[in-house]
Subunit: 204 residues, 2 copies
């Protein structure tokens, strides 16, 4: 029987919505989902580990990866590069395992061009006021940068139309449950399974 | 904010696959899903209660309901009529509540014509051999009727293409978990939510 290919799950949403927190909470649960590690030129935040949270790269190294076509997508965002190394993603999917990418909105839209069959999840704040709170509370941004991020966020929310699912991040554990349900559900989609079951009928 | 309409979930699949068992197990769980009750002219099986498992009707009464357009769908199946009274379904959906219909394949396809936005789930046996076992073990059918049901089942499995999801009923609790995941996931589909979130951005 032909092996079912893994799901590429793309978790995205405006900066500050809590992608990292939700993805971190999902990781702590017992699922079979693997996690892609992005490359970035931004500085590590406290507690972030190279090769675990991100591959932290110099600008020169990152540009070399772009040139050699080693990135599934890359984008410049508020002055830094972010990108997804392609090798690990392809290998995981072809082994029939699911992999989740946690990436910025620009990057997600580029992945969509190459992986139309991916599962694209847009993480939403309960409100724009709450989004501003979260960015302010992170405490790493100046007032100007916060306003800049809010403007970008509003543009990004308009892009949810390009996604398959919208998950509200009202509470982290609820957002995690919704994402887990989406993954189970996508594995049951008829389009992904019909080949398998036609074999079952023909085998009779 | 405009009230989100409930989901119409249609659980179907070949006779003997375990629709009733799975639906019964789902009912015992703490979900917000309501259950439609079908009308039928077939005789009650042991333990089945009128108005709970089915509305048991005479052939005359059933034909009266057809004539008065009180059925969302109806079908004749192995000599009996089955149908879904339309009132309760419409009322439930417009109140924003989810409702599940457990119906035969013919009926499900008719519901699809009227409710294209419904969530159509096809319950699959792990194999055709296992399906035969289940029909035999039910102990209510003659050998001829079993063979008849198996022929119908194979034709019905070909119809899974008309469904959104295929759920394998390998173990009842697993099938129930998959159905619950599909319901959560469908509530997160962008197409169902985009209106709500556009209001959020415009409200700013």
């Amino acid at each position: 029987m032909k092996k079912e290919r893994g799901l590429l799950i793309v978790l995205s949403g405006p900066s500050g919505v809590g992608k990292g927190t939700v993805c971190g909470a999902l990781r702590k649960q017992d699922t079979d989902i693997l996690y892609s590690v992005s490359a970035t030129t931004r500085s590590p935040r406290e507690g972030e580990i190279d090769g675990v949270n991100y591959f932290f790269k110099t600008r020169d190294d990152f540009e070399e990866m772009i040139k050699n076509d080693q990135l599934l997508e890359w984008a410049e965002y508020v002055g830094n590069f972010y990108g997804t190394p392609v090798d690990y993603v392809e290998k995981t999917l072809s082994e029939g395992k699911d992999i989740i990418l946690e990436i910025e909105v620009q990057g997600a839209l580029k992945v969509r061009e190459k992986f139309a069959e991916g599962v694209f999840i847009f993480l939403m704040p309960p409100s724009l006021a709450e989004l501003r709170n979260r960015i302010v509370n992170r405490g790493t941004e100046t007032e100007d940068l916060i306003n800049n991020r809010m403007t970008v966020a509003k543009d990004e929310i308009e892009m949810m139309d390009k996604y398959d699912y919208v998950v509200e991040n009202d509470e982290v554990h609820l957002a995690v449950e919704r994402i887990k349900a989406i993954v189970i559900s996508e594995h049951c989609r008829k389009d992904r399974l019909i080949e398998k079951y036609q074999q079952l009928v023909e085998a009779e």
